[in-house]
């Protein structure tokens, strides 16, 4: 299949008093139709900037984004976006939040049809009984389900997911990863997701794009993930290649940390990013995901 989304020499530069501040430098990436690609990298490396440039929320300094043969400019509902915080409008019910987008995209359809589209996606994400609730009455995980339903209900050409499960506990995260994967397969969408969770990337993606640390972030390497689909978490994690791939990802991320530690003085980093890039992180994370896996096994 030919390339569906093409990012060509995508660059983002912010002007600053000390000269131009290069966030993303000549980022090149092609995604095939129906592919699930994860963008992984440390916090603040510019991966979210790439995503918001594709969404049209952030202006491009140089380069181009081509989706289905057309160059993109500005935001539009042909790209369904799932934000890190669900970004629901609190004065509307879950149903109304989804309808807001559906009305926008399917304005030619009859009211009843539009209602059915919104209801269908809310049911698929498991919110059949909570449609008429306001976001404040929903749990964090349920809100994110509405966010996913809203993005899919637009029937977009491209799904953009900006760390959608970053704020959820690991059990809820596992559940929602499954919901996302099922919907993605059913609707045959092309998806680009930003994450910094190694296991999440391995479970979901066909390819994992590893980004170098900013400033001037670029593609550091691409990892092909060839687990068969449909995927089941247990099978994926027990696959003989799993830990080899995981090791590769972790090694890349660790390497980035080391490079940064050499190139930048400690005081210049923000404390949050430093915590996340501590060398012992991978082992800690492995222990945690192993623990939560056994928990998930127990509930089944």
């Amino acid at each position: 299949m030919s390339d569906y989304l093409i990012l060509s020499r995508l660059t983002k530069i912010y002007p600053s008093p000390d000269g131009p501040d290069i966030i993303v430098k000549e980022f090149d990436l092609s995604i095939r139709k129906g592919e699930f690609v994860c963008l992984i990298g440390h916090s603040g490396c510019g991966k979210s900037t790439v995503l918001s440039m594709i969404a049209g929320l952030n202006e491009i300094t140089a380069g181009a984004i081509i989706l289905a043969g057309k160059e993109l400019s500005g935001p539009g509902p042909d790209r369904g976006m799932v934000f890190q915080s669900p970004c629901l409008l609190p004065w509307m019910t879950a149903f109304e939040n989804v309808m807001l987008g559906v009305n926008q995209v399917f304005y030619t359809a009859a009211r009843e049809e539009r209602r059915q589209i919104a209801e269908y996606y809310l049911c698929v994400v498991g919110l059949a009984d909570a449609m008429d609730k306001k976001p404040a009455e929903l749990s964090q995980g349920m809100r994110q389900r509405v966010g996913i339903a809203r993005a899919f209900a637009l029937s977009p050409k491209l799904l953009l997911l900006d760390e959608p499960f970053g704020m959820l506990d690991s059990l809820t995260r596992f559940e929602l990863q499954q919901v996302l994967l099922d919907l993605w397969r059913k609707d045959q969408k092309t998806a680009l997701m930003v994450t910094h969770d190694v296991d999440e990337a391995l479970f979901l993606a066909d390819r994992i794009v590893m980004m170098t640390n900013g400033p001037a972030a670029e593609v550091g390497g691409i990892l092909e993930v060839r687990f068969s689909r449909p995927r089941h978490r247990k099978e994926v994690m027990e696959h003989p290649d799993y830990y080899r791939l995981r090791e590769q990802l972790v090694a890349f991320l660790e390497n980035q940390t080391r490079r940064e530690a050499v190139s930048t003085p400690v005081s210049a980093e923000d404390p949050d990013a430093r915590n996340k890039t501590e060398p012992q992180l991978p082992s800690r994370k492995a222990a945690r995901s192993a623990a939560s896996l056994s928990m998930a096994g127990g509930t089944r």
């Binding site: 935001p75 976006m81 934000f83 970004c87 409008l89 004065w91 987008g101 637009l154």
Partner: protein
């Protein structure tokens, strides 16, 4: 245990406020007997005000009416001025909040006009409209508008970027963005402004009526001062206070409904 909490409740809501009222009444009585013989004491005030309170809607003459009838005239005027203030103030607030250009152009002049007293606006209103009634409405509107303007502007400016991103990603039209996102997100701020504006509108009414001599609580107050019936001045002051308090309570009930959003 329960009775204990109940008595505490009574203490807070009944006994202590009553105690405060009694203290003020005593001070008032003392002031009227020792300091100024012209100041009527509580009892005299009550006797002189009784016909106005007991028959609150009676109309004995143009300037001799029951106290609630006067209040009604004042309220009608306030509602007119207040409505104009909201209709003019809310859009101005939205424009201030949405447009940097508009805000930079008009913020200084707003800051200058805002502290001007109603007493200063009223003559201008009389020149503009030639009649006392519209002049009073004009004065109330001009004075009461500012909290609505400023609160709406603050509300619009503090709409979370998240909501605006949703509108952008869905590519909502300008009107849909306004009605589906901007206005609902600003409502709590707007209603705080509306409440403050109503308080000011009620403050202004008295000044406006005093100067124009139109019938109402303020007009009655001024007329009774000229007629040397000082008891009625106190009756008017208390009435104005009670009505202002009730209006504020009512508005904060409405406001709280929108705060939950």
């Amino acid at each position: 245990m329960i009775t204990n909490r109940r008595s505490e409740f009574k203490l807070d809501w009944l006994i202590l406020p009553l105690l405060g009222a009694v203290v003020v009444l005593l001070l008032w009585q003392m002031a009227s007997t020792t300091w100024s013989k012209d100041l009527p004491g509580p009892l005299r005030t009550w006797t002189a005000s009784k016909p106005y309170i007991m028959k609150p809607f009676e109309k004995r003459g143009e300037l001799d009416q029951g106290i609630l009838r006067f209040t009604w005239y004042s309220l009608v005027l306030v509602v007119k001025g207040y409505t104009v203030a909201l209709l003019v103030g809310t859009p101005i607030g939205f424009m201030l909040g949405l447009s940097k250009f508009f805000s930079k152009s008009f913020d200084p002049i707003i800051q200058i006009l805002r502290p001007v007293s109603p007493l200063a606006w009223l003559p201008l209103g009389l020149i503009l409209f030639q009649k006392s009634q519209p002049a009073a409405v004009f004065t109330i509107a001009v004075c009461a508008m500012w909290p609505t303007v400023l609160n709406t502007a603050v509300g619009v400016r503090s709409i979370p970027q998240d909501y605006l991103n949703v509108a952008k990603v869905l590519k909502l039209s300008r009107t849909r963005t306004l009605f589906k996102v901007l206005i609902p997100a600003t409502l709590p701020y707007m209603f705080t402004g509306f409440r403050l504006s109503l308080g000011i509108a009620w403050l202004v009414i008295v000044a406006a009526e005093m100067l124009t001599g139109s019938p109402g609580v303020g007009g009655f107050l001024w007329q009774e001062y000229n007629a040397l019936i000082y008891e009625h001045i106190i009756l008017c002051i208390l009435t104005i206070g009670v009505i202002g308090f009730v209006l504020d309570r009512l508005m904060s009930l409405v406001e709280r409904r929108f705060k939950t959003v």
